[in-house]
């Protein structure tokens, strides 16, 4: 027991990061499951982070309320985004959403209320490990529950063959809207938690580089399942610390590992033990 407590005392930050990263990866996984390469998760994350932070610091709202507010904000924005991009597919959707993310980042950089490039510091550090992992568990359970519904079936159908889905009466537009909104909500949760455990946020936290990272977690872990997203986030969050001994060779090792995994297991690590794994082509 003592050893566990000691381990926690030494690594609590990393443990918290893994939890939040897993939530972010899940938010992207939700979109990917619907066949949508929607890469605006970091924008939703950022919106929720700023809303939650500003309410906490300026209006002194309690943690739970700020998180809810953040999630509501990001969900609304995600749902709104679904309209202009409803006809976009594949890489077009990807680029549109990346562009949206950049627009959000520029706004965060230029507005006074977000602190501009200097960011906002002194955020109360009140999202502890308990809150983070409880949230993660909530998301996982919710997704699990969802996977039993007809909605999940519709999502899978839209992903595999949109025409066929329409043919059997699935409202593709609504499915895409809901999956985008759900992704936005989960990303928002991750963003609010991130703000309340990082002491400081800045627009650079929510840029394309972060989006790339989340994308890599998802694909390396496995796009087909929530387990893959969590796994990818966890493994790749720990990786920099594990290979720290390699010093100058860390960067290239990163690239090689990425390449090797994706070439040998294109379905991601989670697909290694999924029997009858559904191969997802996005």
């Amino acid at each position: 027991m003592n050893a566990l407590l000691d381990f926690y005392a030494k690594h609590s930050q990393l443990i918290d990061q893994i939890g939040i990263n897993a939530i972010l990866a899940l938010s992207l996984s939700v979109s990917l499951q619907a066949g949508q390469l929607a890469l605006a998760q970091v924008a939703f994350m950022g919106i929720a982070a700023y809303v939650s932070t500003i309410l906490a610091l300026n209006a002194h709202w309690p943690l739970a309320a700020t998180i809810v507010a953040g999630v509501v904000a990001s969900t609304i924005v995600a749902a709104l985004l679904a309209f202009p991009v409803r006809r976009l597919r594949g890489v077009f959707l990807a680029i549109a959403t990346i562009g949206f993310g950049e627009i959000v980042r520029v706004f965060a950089n230029n507005l006074a209320i977000t602190g501009g490039a200097e960011g906002i510091s002194g955020i109360p550090n009140d999202a502890g490990t308990g809150v983070i992992y409880a949230s993660l568990a909530l998301v996982v359970l919710a997704l699990f529950a969802l996977s039993r519904t007809r909605f999940a079936l519709a999502v899978a159908l839209v992903r595999e063959d949109e025409h066929a889905a329409r043919g059997v009466g699935v409202d593709v537009g609504t499915v895409r809207l809901l999956s985008l909104a759900l992704g936005g909500a989960i990303a928002g949760l991750g963003g609010a938690l991130h703000a309340h455990s990082s002491n400081f946020i800045t627009p650079a936290d929510f840029g394309f580089a972060t989006m790339e990272q989340v994308l890599v977690w998802c694909v390396i872990g496995g796009v087909t399942s929530p387990l893959g997203a969590v796994l990818g986030a966890a493994l790749l969050s720990i990786l920099p610390e594990v290979i720290r001994v390699l010093a100058d060779y860390r960067e290239i090792t990163n690239g090689v590992i990425l390449l090797a995994v994706i070439l040998f297991v294109p379905g991601g690590i989670a697909s290694l033990w999924r029997r009858g794994a559904v191969r997802v082509r996005v």
Partner: protein
């Protein structure tokens, strides 16, 4: 006392103040091992700043062993960890150092944003930390054990504006600064503020993004308003291009800038357009403090190019820590207490102390860019 003793004593007192020199003395911590944790962005986006920091600490390690830096006979080591410009890694490293039980103080990280993320951790643990390059406002306010040996722009720019205004008596100015980087944005805000306070009319303000390479659109706009002076809030890569392109566009205004311009390579990269540009700096590579002359010479010999401000401020931090160790600080509490009580340490930055806010107490130096580097601005 007789007449020869007083001057001799005086000389001894001065020598004691001017140390370190050559042989290491035997302080209360002699023989003890003292670990210092350093967090630096050796790789990643801020690698160009973190690498000189790492170099300086490597040199400091050698210098402690050889006695050039006097640590009172203690086995003092600086352990540099690369945070790869990743905020998460900075935080994890800070947690590692503050909980491993053997680190006495943490130096770094490289970027102010990283400091805002990681210093609260140290503050909660009452752990001493010192920033050597984190010059944003509010860093030292993060906790009573947070110190900084790098002069903030808010401590330098007012002097830059005053001295140039006294000499040139300019009436109009333009400010160009990076809007997506905390350091350059601070520069822009402070320049604007100080210029206005000096009665100068700021006729145009332009912004750019970090990593931009083409500033001609902004400079063209500035030139259309014909300011007497252009204040530049930029990091070195952008600053060189701004200056070179200003020259190409035929801009004749005086140029003044913040710390980011402080590199002796400025003229060789930006060209004749840089001649006469004025830089307010926390450190001058040509300063004649004895440990500085030696530092610059040996750093250049070891790494093939001269040290920059990041290297100098890191080496100075090492000197400060060594001073505290030589006076008996071996663990985090003793180090925190030592920092609280320290008055003045002789470093490559000159004599350095800390003010009531735990910021560096040192004089900025106003320099003029010339063909082979810098000259003092008069």
């Amino acid at each position: 006392m007789n007449r020869t003793m007083v001057p001799a004593l005086a000389l001894l007192a001065i020598a004691a103040l001017v140390a370190p020199s050559g042989a290491a003395s035997k302080g209360p911590a002699a023989g003890k091992t003292v670990h210092v944790g350093v967090i630096a962005d050796v790789t990643g986006g801020a690698g160009v700043y973190g690498t000189p920091q790492k170099n300086a600490y490597e040199m400091a390690n050698d210098d402690v062993k050889s006695g050039k830096i006097d640590a009172g006979g203690a086995n003092l080591t600086f352990d540099v960890a690369d945070a790869a410009t990743d905020g998460a890694q900075v935080v994890n490293l800070m947690q590692k150092y503050t909980t491993d039980g053997s680190t006495a103080i943490v130096l770094g990280p490289t970027l102010s944003g990283e400091a805002f993320k990681a210093f609260p951790l140290a503050a909660r643990a009452n752990f001493p930390v010192m920033g050597t390059s984190t010059t944003a406002e509010g860093v030292t306010a993060l906790g009573p054990t947070v110190y900084r040996d790098s002069l903030a722009e808010s401590q330098v720019i007012p002097t830059t504006v005053k001295r140039t205004h006294d000499k040139w008596h300019y009436k109009t100015a333009a400010v160009i600064f990076g809007d997506d980087n905390a350091f350059t944005k601070t520069d822009g805000d402070i320049f604007a503020r100080e210029l206005k306070a000096a009665g100068v009319d700021v006729v145009d303000t332009e912004t750019f993004h970090i990593k931009d390479t083409d500033f001609q659109a902004a400079l063209t706009r500035i030139e259309s308003k014909h300011p007497d002076v252009i204040a530049i809030g930029a990091l070195f890569p952008e600053a060189t291009k701004i200056i070179a392109q200003a020259g190409k566009l035929g801009i004749k205004a005086h140029l003044i800038g913040g710390n980011g311009l402080n590199s002796p390579e400025m003229y060789s990269v930006a060209g004749p357009a840089a001649q006469g540009a004025v830089v307010g700096a926390a450190w001058f590579s040509g300063a004649k403090y004895s440990s500085n002359v030696d530092f610059v010479k040996r750093y250049t010999a070891k790494y093939g190019k001269g040290p920059d401000q990041f290297a100098a401020q890191s080496y100075a931090a090492a000197q400060i820590v060594a001073y505290l160790v030589a006076h008996g600080a071996t663990n985090k509490d003793e180090m925190a207490a030592g920092l609280k009580g320290v008055r003045v340490v002789q470093t490559v930055l000159g004599p350095i102390g800390f003010d009531a806010n735990r910021d560096a107490k040192s004089s900025p130096v106003i320099l003029s860019i010339v063909k082979d580097g810098f000259a003092y601005f008069h």
